[in-house]
Symmetry: C2
């Protein structure tokens, strides 16, 4: 139970931080569309992946997307296939690309 409460408290804290982060988002979806051209090769032209190994990005939370792209870029999340595509992205690029995918419909 103690462990569950700890997890719940951590989740709540993460949620509050995320809300704060969301309020600071400055991603531009239009700019992100152009910057995401290469991403389409694996994640699909509409952000819906047809490859079993790769996730669909359409409609995902922008804060989540930005966090993961930064994690790939900065080596916190290790994925050799992703790394070359994100290694040179600026923080603004990351926010723009995340904002773009968040605007896409996840419906097939």
């Amino acid at each position: 139970m103690k462990s569950t409460i700890h997890v719940a408290a951590a989740a709540l804290a993460a949620s509050l931080l995320a809300t704060h982060a969301a309020a600071q988002e400055t991603g531009n979806a239009e700019a992100g569309k152009a910057k995401a051209a290469l991403c389409a090769a694996c994640h699909g032209p509409n952000g819906i992946s047809i490859n079993p190994l790769w996730p669909s990005l359409a409609g995902q939370q922008p804060v989540y997307l930005a966090k993961q792209i930064r994690a790939f870029r900065d080596g916190e999340r290790v994925e050799p296939t992703m790394q070359p595509f994100v290694v040179n992205l600026t923080d603004q690029d990351v926010e723009d690309i995340a904002a773009y995918y968040a605007t896409l419909s996840p419906c097939p």
Copy 2:
């Protein structure tokens, strides 16, 4: 260009491996539904997250989902919020949960 070809070749190899892995999948979505009860607290009752920090899982590729759950479980992908929920999952649990989320509609 050389780098691009290398990436493309790696992606193709990953794709072929994934196809092979997909053929071996033995996840049971019905069993996974029961095993995923705790997951709903963060990922939503229908696999659609309402929290900016957490991804929607509904309709994602089952091989991708299983790979990520195993990565969290085995410490290859570090996320303190996820780890307690997956640390005791067996490989069969992982496949079942992944199969379950793959059957859900990603449409809000």
